[in-house]
Every structure is written in C-alpha cells, then in structure tokens.
C-alpha cells in the first residue's frame, strides 16, 4: 500500500506512506515541516553539532515523491526552514538541488512559525492557500472545515504483542487532515496529546507512515 485514500470536503486525497499528501485531481503534492537547515541552526547557536546531512536527505525524499507523482503544484505547508537564516545559509549544492526540484512547476511556500516572511528562493509565498473547498495553512484553526495543516508533527503508537511501534502519522477526520513532518530531523507529538485530541473528532483516523501507510483509529488517552 503506497497510500491511504480518503475524501475531505469532496476532494479525493491520498495520504502517502512517505508523509506527503497527494491530490490527483489537481496534481498537487503537499508536504509539511521540512525544517531544512536544522543542524546548521543548532551549530550556529552554539548547540550540538549534528550531522549536517539532513537537507540532502529531506530533499532526496522529496525528489522521490515528485518523481513518483509528477505534480503540477508543490505546496510546502510551513516550517520549511528552521529559520530565515537557515534558508540563506543553505549549502550551494543543496540550493542547486532545490532549484532543480522547483523548475517547471508551481511552488508555494506557506508561512510557518519558524520561517515567517519571504525567502530568496523563488516560488510563491503565502500565509494561506485555498483551492476549491480546501484551505491549506500551517497551524490548524479549531472549527475550520476542509482544512489541511501541519505544525504538530503528529505521531502515533501501535502495540504489537508486547512491543510498541511509534511512527509519524497523518491525522484525518471529516473536517481536517494534519500532516506529519516530512523533514529528516524532526520529532513528533503523540496523537493522545490534549491539543490533538481537542482538534480531532471522535471518528478520527491516524495513518502511520513508513514502508507502507497503515490506518488505525487515532490512539487517544481514554
């Protein structure tokens, strides 16, 4: 299974095993929370010196998704860069790789809480994006309908005969979908966190990412 198919406000969507959201009718591929430049930002601020390879890794994954779906539009749902300086500080090779991905298609950068304001990389910069009945924004708004967002990096746990597997996941209900973080250096917030429980309806589903997309009822603290 490459993805989990579902309908949101009349739009037929696929939650892909990679963590990207695919809208075939519009040729739109959405990813959230790439956090490019995270290792560089930490190093710059005198923190840990993490392996400086996450930009390559994240862009390689994104390239694979673009090759598989051939989207007309790519939408990055915010927190694409760890901060504005991280976007300016991109390694030239990584910057070239990103430009190659952007060439020949519409590219939209939605603003996140880590990277407000435009960056010098081309593409369109928007606070929010609407298409048909769907609105795309970085952080979910309580009560919204037909909303696609990111920000929380949701993850969910599944217990299998005494061992627990935790994976980044989509959270999906009748009104909204929250995307997992697509970036390599990202952690997650458990689906049973009060914030996520409050946002998602009682029939919500968690789609675990990984080698295959697996849907389970969204794990909650009873």
């Amino acid at each position: 299974m490459n993805g989990y198919d579902f309908t949101l406000a009349g739009a037929a969507l696929t939650a892909r095993a990679s963590g990207a959201l695919w809208w075939p009718a519009e040729g739109l591929l959405a990813v959230s929370d790439l956090h490019l430049g995270k290792s560089e930002r930490l190093a710059r601020r005198g923190g840990a010196l993490l392996p400086p390879y996450e930009v390559r890794e994240t862009l390689a994954r994104l390239a694979a998704e673009i090759a598989a779906t051939e989207p007309r539009t790519v939408l990055c749902l915010g927190d694409s860069f760890d901060d504005v300086a991280a976007a300016d500080g991109l390694d030239p090779a990584d910057r070239a790789a990103l430009s190659r991905l952007m060439a020949g298609r519409r590219w939209i950068w939605a603003e996140g809480n880590h990277d407000p304001g435009p960056v010098e990389l081309g593409g369109t910069h928007l606070a929010e994006f609407r298409l048909r009945a769907l609105s795309f924004r970085h952080i979910a708004t309580p009560g919204a309908r037909g909303e696609v967002s990111g920000h929380y990096h949701p993850k969910a746990r599944l217990s299998l005969r005494g061992q627990a597997i935790s994976r980044p996941c989509f959270l999906i209900d009748a009104d909204r979908v929250i995307l997992p973080a697509f970036g390599a250096y990202t952690g997650g917030l458990r689906s049973d966190d009060p914030v996520l429980e409050g946002l998602m309806g009682p029939q919500a589903v968690a789609v675990l990412t990984g080698p295959a997309a697996r849907a389970i009822p969204m794990p909650r603290r009873r």
């Binding site: 560089e40 710059r44 597997i165 935790s166 990202t186 952690g187």
Partner: protein
C-alpha cells in the same frame, strides 16, 4: 600502609570486611595530625553516593574522638548547591566524592586553586569502577589532577580480583610503577548448594520451587540476603515468597528500579536489624555495611565466580568468621553451572574478561570538559591523557580525531564555518562560545540511563511513588494491564505528565515488568569448567537427577566439548531443528542465532526463529540442515556480520549512549523532559543519516567498537570458532536430545523477520479498524 605512604601508586587488595577503607585513610590521617595542612589534602572517590556518606560517618567518629582538627566532607549530586559552592571556595581537608562529581569540579576554571596542595587520592571499590566507563572517566580525571599536583599519590582499594597487575596498570600514572599489597584473604567461605525437596525445573530462572527451603533457612538465620540476577526475577520471587510467608517474617525488597524512598526505608530497617531477609539484586553488591547478615543466598547461577565471591563477602562482615552462602540453581542446567562455580570458588579461581582500552567517547567528553575549564594545548593534553592507564596506548591520530570531533563534529562535509565548538587561537584550543561550558557540564558523566518513567499509586495524597519502569515497557501497557513493582501487583490506569499511574490490584498472576535488569553472560572461565566437567566419566559432585540427565545425553547423542562444536539436528512437531552448543555466553549465542538464521535464509532453508541461552542456540525452520559445517565457516559468518550489525537495534542503542557520552546529543535530564516536545527527535535518525552520508565517521567507529565488546559480544563468538576451528560433531537424531529439551521451555524466542513487523502491523491495523467500525 604507613610504611608505603610514599609510594606514588599503591593497590590494596583485601576481602570485604577487612577494614581496607580505614587502612587507605591511615597515611592521610597520620600526615594531617602531624603536619597541619591548609586546604584539600586527600580526595576519596567511591562508586556510590551512599558509600561516600557512609564513610564520612565512619571516619568522623574516630577523628572526633581523638580530637584531630581535620575537616571531612562529602560532595555528590545530592549535596546542596550552597554547600558545594562553599566547598569550592574553602575545600575541606578530606573530600569524599564520586567520579562524576570530580569530573564536574575539574571542569571549572578554578580547579587549579581548589586542588592546590592535594597530596593523596584514594579510589575505593576500584574493581567495580574498572568494570565500566566510569573508571575510564575517573582515570582521565586523575591524569588531570596529576598535572595540577605533580606529587600526588594514588591508593586503590579493591576486593579480590583475578588479575591484580592489570588493575594496577589501570590505576597507576603511565608508565609509572604501582605496588600491589594483598591482605590475608581470611577464612575460606562456607558455601554449598541448597538442598531442596523437589528437583529444580527443566527451564526458567525464578527459583520458585525452592521457596519452602529458602524460608526455612531464613527462619534459621538472623539476617539473610537473597540475591537475584535480574530485577524482574527479584520482583516475581519476592511476590511468591510473600505469598508463602505464613509466619509473617519481616522481609524486604531492594533493587535499583525502586523509588529512592522505598529503598531508603528498607536500608533503614536493615540497619536497625528489623528485617530477617532482603530480596535484592546487584544494588546491594558494594561495600556498604549492613551489619548482621549471616547468610547469603544466590538464586540462579552466579554466571561469574568473581561476583559470587564478592557477594558471599556480604555475609559476616567480621574478618575472622567464615562467610556462609547457599546457591540455588534455578533450573537443571544451572545445577551443573552452580557446581562448577562452587569448585572454582573453593579453588580460589576467579574469572573476568580482560579490560579493553579506554573508550573514545569518554575521551571526547573529557576534551570538551577540559575546554570548559580553560584553553589548552593539544600536545599537552595528549601527553596528559596517555598518562592515564586505560589510554596509555592511544595513538596521536586517534587523539586528533577525538579533538576534531569535539571541535567541529568531525564530519566529512566541511562546508560550514559555523560548525565550530572549539577554536584554535594562539596555539590553544578554546570554546568558541564560553556560554557552552554550562551545556558541557550538564552532559558530564558516563552513565546513560534508558529512559524511565516514574510509577505512582493513584490515591488522594498526590500519588505514592513506587519506582520506575522503562519507557518502552510503559508504552506497551494498556489500561487494565497488571504488573509487579516493589513486590505488589498493580493495575495500569494511564499516563499523566510522564508518570505511570497505577492502582493496587489483588491479582496473583501479574504481567511482569520487563525493566532491563542486566542479563549477565556466563564467563568464559566458568563455561570452560562446565565443558571440562562433561569429560568426566561420572559426576559424584552432581545431584543424582542431574548426573542421570547428562549420562542419558551421552548415550543418545554426545556431550558438548571444548575443542569440537556439537551440532544436533532433529525433527520436532513438524519442524526441523538445529542446536549449536557453543557455550559462548548468552549475548554471543544470541548473535550466533541471528547470523545463522541469516545464512539459512539465504540458503533457502526457511528458518522461522531461534532462542539462545548461555550455552546453546536452538533454531527452528521448515527445512532440515543436512550439513551444518558451511554455516559455521568463520569467513561467511564474519561477512554476514558486517551487514547485519549495521542495521541492528543493538547498534542504535549503543550509538545513543556513545553519542550522549561524546557530547553529540544532549543528555535528557528528568527535570527538563516534558511531554509534547516535537522539537526533539530520536537518535536513531542521526545514526541512519551518518551511515548513509558519512559512513567513516568517528561516532560510527566508536559504536561498532562498543557493540562488539558489549551486547553483540562478537569477540566470544570468534573465540568459540577459533577453539573449535571447524571441528563439528554433527549428531542427526530422530528426536529431541535430553540436553536440548529444556531449550524448548526458554523464553525470549526471536522470530526471524523478513516482512514480519509490517505483516503484524497490517493484521493489527485491520483488526482495530474493524473493531472501531472504520472500514
């Protein structure tokens, strides 16, 4: 000790209860009494905070009695900040501390002033410190002290060990000498196997069958310590013991996963002489004086003769009385192991693996800590570090790689000038940002705990703390599950703010807490003794039931030997089975299982799973192995090993601890951890990234080195393959052999995963969705 007061380094080996700690202080007390000394004179290092406090009490009493003007204070993580601050401003004459607190003291700029005039350092229980990275860290610290105080004299105090010269080299400033002083070992211990009505079961590790006999012994002694090899086993045993304790004898439990309050209650009751028995694990191994223990019972094979001897030393803390101990084999095979251990202990033969050179993750931490204390020259630090015993053989290239890692992260990709934690300026290395010193200090230490969660009893009073369980274990719990902690069965109610909430539950058969008590592997020396025993014609030392069992094995198959590898194959319940009796210890046998099943998978033999014990690996599958010899070729195994090792979960766990120690990732301290931090991510991601983009990185090299000597234990596997050298006795049998039968009852079966995990997930997901009506 007084005659040797001028020795630059001295190792004193004496059995437990010999008063060696006081002997270690004697030269200091005499010197201080005769020559008044401003500031710090003697530093005492012990592995346990409790021990430092204990020694302070025991040392102050005679000093105050004689009326000597000597100030004695302890300093550990528990010491209030105000007192720690004062101790740095105005150090006492004798400071009692731990390796971690010493590392912290040395990381401050004022270290040269604090330690000025230091004359002696005493390392207590050095045999225990030398068993872990704490010892390596300490020796680097002493090398630093030696440079600050060139006349410093070292004294190491040790229980009986197998290789005193090696321990002396560990202690001494390299290449200096170290005298070894061995005290009278005292009376020979009185050890035997516990006679029980019923013979031990064929498999398992609990020792429950022996409870009536053990209770009887407890009744007949003043105070009994009942040692177990793992915390989980101690819990189950205590629970069962309590159910059988009709006379209501006061019995307590003590192990490292219990809440500090619970442990302190038991310790206090013990000191007051109120307890008749304590069920415990290694947490009671070190030399705290518990008073009136007159019997030690070891449940389960001791796995290692040295540890057995040190545990026996817990009984009768009086020098002239013999220590009394009873061994309780938990299963039939352990009878053989216990008899072998008894013979070794009586013969005074100890075991132990030779210590490997100082690990480089500890060195990376030391380099950062040195930078926190002030600018340093690479040449001088290299000279200082190689003056520490464990790092005597460290090459300059290795040192430079560690320095580069500390300074820039050591990555092959060098595009970022921001990747600079240390700068080289005017010939000296220094922190780029002086504020990072605080972060470095927070990360000091070499003990990396598995993440644990506190367990609290849900009640009106804010929740009584019971202890902790591993986060991984807590994750598998769902409301209503029951498990054992602190000897009681509790019911899991839910997780609240990183605390596991439970209620009391009257269930008698709980699901067991699988917190990772260390599972020790049987030592090489003990395994060799067992193999030697097999070569005897008969076994008068063994109980009848066990001797008969071995004789039957010899008739129907063969007994395993040291120079030949016995491999049995037989059908059982429609599956083909293979048993390899490598006697290489649990970890190595486990690794062997992983490697063999991988080979079998490639050869199309459809292995389905395996289970490993200290002496054998049992593999089952769909097809028979007609010729086992090619599977055991060293080259093939080694090749498969490289592939397998890299992606293994053991490696990721090892990577995490080494990365924390080396300062690649920050230590997560309980106070700073909270729910809902999507900013932090798993160290597995870093491991995978490094493997993919920077496979030659120092951290991966260190991880491989650590895993090989630790959990993977490839060294002992190689040793086994070398001693059998391709000589395989293949016994094709019509049915299960007597020696193989207990293996079928072992827990810890490992399924061979191909798409295993994904298939399980698919099944579970489909079931859950159907149950919830979400198609």
């Amino acid at each position: 000790m007084l005659a040797r007061a001028k020795a630059p380094a001295l190792l004193l080996i004496a059995p437990t209860g010999g008063g060696k700690t006081l002997a270690g202080f004697l030269p200091s007390l005499v010197d201080l009494a005769e020559n008044p000394h401003p500031g710090l004179h003697t530093l005492y290092i012990s592995p346990l905070k409790a021990l430092a406090a204990d020694i302070r009490r025991n040392l102050r009493a005679p000093v105050e009695e004689i009326g000597l003007p000597i100030r004695i204070e302890d300093r550990t993580g528990d010491t209030p900040a105000s007192r720690r601050k004062r101790q740095r401003a105005d150090p006492p004459h004798i400071l009692l501390t731990t390796p971690e607190s010493l590392a912290l003291l040395l990381s401050y700029e004022d270290a040269p002033r604090v330690f000025a005039g230091l004359k002696r350092v005493i390392v207590d229980e050095i045999h225990a410190l030398a068993e872990s990275k704490r010892g390596d860290q300490l020796m680097l610290g002493l090398a630093r002290l030696q440079r600050l105080c060139p006349g410093l004299r070292r004294v190491g105090l040790s229980a009986t060990v197998e290789d005193p010269p090696a321990l002396a080299r560990f202690l001494a400033p390299h290449p200096g000498p170290c005298e070894i002083l061995t005290a009278d070992p005292g009376s020979a211990p009185d050890i035997a196997m516990l006679e029980t009505g019923a013979p031990p079961p064929w498999a398992g590790g609990g020792g429950r069958y022996a409870i009536p006999a053990i209770l009887d012994q407890v009744r007949r002694h003043r105070t009994t310590l009942i040692f177990h090899n793992t915390r989980a086993q101690a819990e189950i045993f205590f629970h069962d013991l309590w159910l059988a304790n009709d006379a209501g004898l006061p019995i307590g439990i003590h192990h490292g996963s219990l809440a500090r309050e619970a442990r302190e209650r038991v310790e206090a009751a013990m000191t007051r002489g109120e307890l008749r028995a304590v069920v415990c694990t290694g947490s009671l191994d070190l030399g705290i004086d518990w008073g009136d223990v007159d019997l030690v019972i070891q449940v389960g094979a001791p796995k290692n003769v040295k540890r057995l001897v040190q545990r026996i030393g817990r009984a009768n803390h009086r020098y002239n009385a013999p220590s009394k101990a009873l061994l309780v084999p938990a299963n039939r095979f352990e009878v053989v192991e216990c008899v072998a251990a008894l013979e070794a202990a009586r013969a005074g033969e100890l075991d132990g693996a030779p210590r490997s050179p100082g690990p480089r993750d500890v060195l990376c931490q030391h380099i950062l800590a040195t930078a926190a204390a002030g600018p340093f020259e690479a040449d001088a630090l290299h000279a200082e570090v190689t003056g520490a015993g464990p790092y005597a053989a460290l090459t300059r290239a290795q040192f430079d790689a560690c320095l580069d890692f500390a300074a820039t992260g050591g990555y092959a990709l060098r595009a970022y000038d921001r990747y600079q934690r240390l700068l080289h300026r005017e010939g000296k290395w220094q922190l780029r940002d002086p504020r990072s010193a605080a972060q470095i200090r927070m990360n000091l230490g070499t003990i990396v705990d598995t993440e644990t969660l506190k367990v609290r009893l849900r009640n009106g009073r804010g929740g009584t703390p019971l202890g902790e369980v591993e986060e991984g274990f807590a994750a598998t719990l769902t409301a209503g599950d029951t498990f054992l902690i602190g000897g009681q069965v509790v019911r899991y109610e839910g997780l609240r703010e990183m605390t596991v909430e439970v209620t009391r539950h009257a269930d008698r058969t709980p699901r067991v807490a699988t917190y990772m008590g260390t599972k020790f592997a049987t030592s090489t020396q003990l395994s060799d003794r067992i193999l030697a025993m097999f070569r005897q014609g008969d076994w008068p030392a063994l109980p009848r039931h066990t001797a008969d069992w071995l004789a039957l094995q010899r008739d129907l198959s063969h007994l395993p030997g040291r120079e030949r590898l016995l491999v049995e194959t037989f059908p059982h319940e429609g599956r083909a089975h293979l048993v390899a009796y490598g006697f290489a210890g649990r970890n190595a046998q486990q690794t062997l299982g992983l490697l063999l099943t991988q080979q079998m998978e490639r050869a199309g033999l459809h292995p389905l799973g395996f289970v490993a014990t200290d002496y054998a690996t049992l593999i089952w599958g769909l097809d028979e192995v007609a010729d086992p010899a090619p599977l055991f070729e060293t080259e093939t195994l080694r090749e498969g090993f490289a592939d397998w090792l890299a992606g293994n979960a053991v490696m990721k766990r090892t990577f995490r601890s080494s990365a924390v120690i080396a300062g690649l990732i920050d230590r997560v301290t309980p106070g700073r951890r909270k729910t809902g931090r999507q900013a932090t991510f798993s160290s597995d991601i870093l491991y995978d990234t490094l493997r993919k983009y920077d496979p030659g990185h120092l951290m991966l090299e260190i991880t491989r080195e650590e895993a090989l000597k630790g959990l993977v234990d490839f060294g002992r596997l190689e040793e086994m393959l070398a001693r059998t050298n391709g000589r395989i006795t293949h016994a094709r049998l019509p049915r299960v052999s007597p020696l193989a039968a207990p293996l079928f009852l072992e827990v810890g079966r490992v399924p061979v995963k191909g798409a295993g995990e994904e298939r399980l997930m698919a099944e579970a997901a489909a079931r859950l969705m159907a149950e919830a009506g979400l198609t």
